[in-house]
Subunit: 351 residues, 2 copies
DNA sequence: GTGAAAGCGCTAACAT
DNA sequence: ATGTTAGCGCTTTCAC
């Protein structure tokens, strides 16, 4: 360990050079692991580095190359388990390759998403992992294209003509949910979602509807889609139930929808699965400890992160070829919130 | 909007300078908003900037100064609402001051925490917001001290002799919880926590115990503290209940503890609040939509983030004086998971 | 008012 | 095998 009681100024490569009695270029070579340096000099450099506590300044070092060893990550939010795990994974993978991940939250705003992208462009990041607020056609992706940035799109995307995309296989997962619900006897199902993320929600809805109708042509599928926000969804859902609609199951296409559905059930005094069944897209830790445990579609975060980074680095290293759209398979956890219709009181009533 | 179909190389300050017919120094001044530039020249610079789509390279610009306009944030994890909100807030506040936040997850490892800090030191960040894995006495804080880094410690800390600290007022919140539980008639209460974070857990435990004993000297308070990890806690809790212990309420000192408690209740078929009451430190969105809703201590994330950044920037700007330890008041949400003892079946069995 | 020159800390091409 | 030189893109004296 180096001893430096006062760190007025950090040791620079020149300090090391003069202490070791060599030039800065030689120090640079030694640090880079070039083998053509005389062992004796290399040793002197190592000693000087040790004594001065020298460390390369990665940002200064990046100054010379066109791209810096930095990967930008833009997530719609940091508050959910899904994106939290995603950032953690991405960070890990970036570091494994000697890069630093700089993550930013667009806070579900496309305008902010674009601003962050501009900043990352200013920073000359080597690449960007963008989880767009809406879909692949936002201003952020346009900006990336217009400026020739290297990037991968994840999560709320299906495919793109300029960037590789990686997301959960929404359609297949939804088909599986449909299979389960139909098998349990449900013939009146409400699907709730958010219209804003057109492509993803559409895939989830279609995947569900197609399979459900195929297995049970008589099934009734209602859909409540809020345009951009969660509170309107709550209002629409409330209105839907107020009209007297009584589906036997609800399939929520996104996490917040599951929370809204649960809170509306509470309001009406309905319990899962006796009064109504519930499945949600997106799992969360709490869903397995509540009573009833909530059934959910588990997105393969690690696979998405892994393949996204793989694709990104392939492009950073010059990989050519048309964009690739990956869909990662999900798991379905059918927990207690799903039952068969008609097994419970199935009536309104107090809490 | 600037038009640049191919972005071989981004426009540099020299490109702007030559296009505007002035020197790079003048461009720099214009960009910095210096007023001593002839208006006509300033205009030419603005035009050139516009036409070339020029943007300052913030990293290159920081090269000259000792500290960069970057704030580092180190959180124990990104997966929980608490730290997700914290990062979001910190990011926002940093940006408001023209800084970029670079967040990293120590993944609950002190070794990794230190590594991240080393990297941030290499990056010459202006300051660090550290939410330590354990407490203020870890290797990371030592490293910061030894290297004269500017920083603030938050969350799992009480006070420090070198850095300002900001955290939730654990003791006061716990006292309030004690007041509520005692008032409801509970006289046998189990407290669960994690020993690793000595200071914080101690404050929560002591705050609870002191007030509970003062209000009801006959109260029995059991404590199950796991050393470092959550799974051992689950095992200890299971063993505790297996011995036949039947407290009427559980107070969990941290979020994961609340989840573990809930899952152990499930295992034994106990329902809140009839069979047992539950309050947890740390709120989460799902807690208000489950049935029963789970009572929780809400940490004031915004205040913590706000005061942390305030303190940090004060130091960055040269503020002197002894370290300040702030405690931010919490709110208690007494929800349905808390009832009075003896109102339910209070027997084992069930699903 | 403005620009030339000197760097921030590093690396890479080119000599030697 | 090593050092010299010339930058990366910017800012900041300090003369003019």
């Amino acid at each position: 360990m180096a001893h430096r009681q006062d760190q007025q100024r950090r040791a620079s490569i020149h300090d090391v050079a003069s202490r070791a009695g060599v030039s800065a270029a030689t120090v640079s070579k030694v640090m880079a692991g070039v083998t053509t340096v005389k062992p004796e000099n290399a040793q002197r450099v190592f000693d000087a580095v040790e004594q001065l506590g020298y460390r390369i300044d990665p940002l200064a070092s990046d100054m010379r190359r066109a791209k810096r060893r930095i990967i930008g990550a833009i997530m719609p939010e940091f508050e959910s388990e899904f994106f939290g795990q995603m950032v953690t994974q991405l960070e890990s993978l970036a570091e494994q390759r000697g890069y630093t991940l700089v993550a930013a939250s667009s806070r579900e705003s496309e305008a902010r998403e674009k601003e962050i992208l501009v900043r990352m462009h200013d920073w000359r990041v080597a690449g960007v992992v963008l989880a767009p607020v809406r879909n692949e056609h936002g201003p952020a992706a346009d900006f990336m294209k217009a400026n020739g940035m290297t990037g991968v799109l994840i999560d709320r995307v299906l495919s793109d003509d300029a960037f590789d995309t990686v997301s959960a296989d929404s359609a297949a997962a939804s088909a599986e949910v449909a299979r389960e619900l139909i098998a349990k006897g449900h013939r009146h199902i409400l699907v709730v979602g958010l219209g804003e993320q057109a492509a993803t929600m559409r895939a989830r809805l279609d995947g569900f509807r197609t399979t459900a109708l195929k297995l049970a042509p008589d099934v009734r599928i209602d859909v409540v889609l809020a345009e951009t926000d969660v509170e309107p969804l709550r209002a629409q859902l409330r209105e839907y139930f107020a009209k007297g609609e009584r589906p036997t199951a609800v399939y929520s296409l996104f996490l917040k929808g599951t929370l809204v559905a649960l809170s509306e059930f509470r309001r009406r005094g309905w319990h899962c699965p006796n009064d109504i069944s519930l499945v949600g897209f997106d799992d969360a830790e709490w869903m397995q400890v509540t009573w009833p445990a909530i059934a959910a579609v588990v997105q393969p975060v690690r696979q998405i992160a892994g393949h996204a980074m793989e694709a990104l680095f392939a492009r950073i290293e010059g990989g050519e070829g048309p964009p690739i759209a990956r869909l990662e398979p999900c798991r379905i956890l059918m927990r207690e919130s799903v039952g068969s219709p008609g097994n419970g009181p199935h009536s309104g009533g107090g809490q």
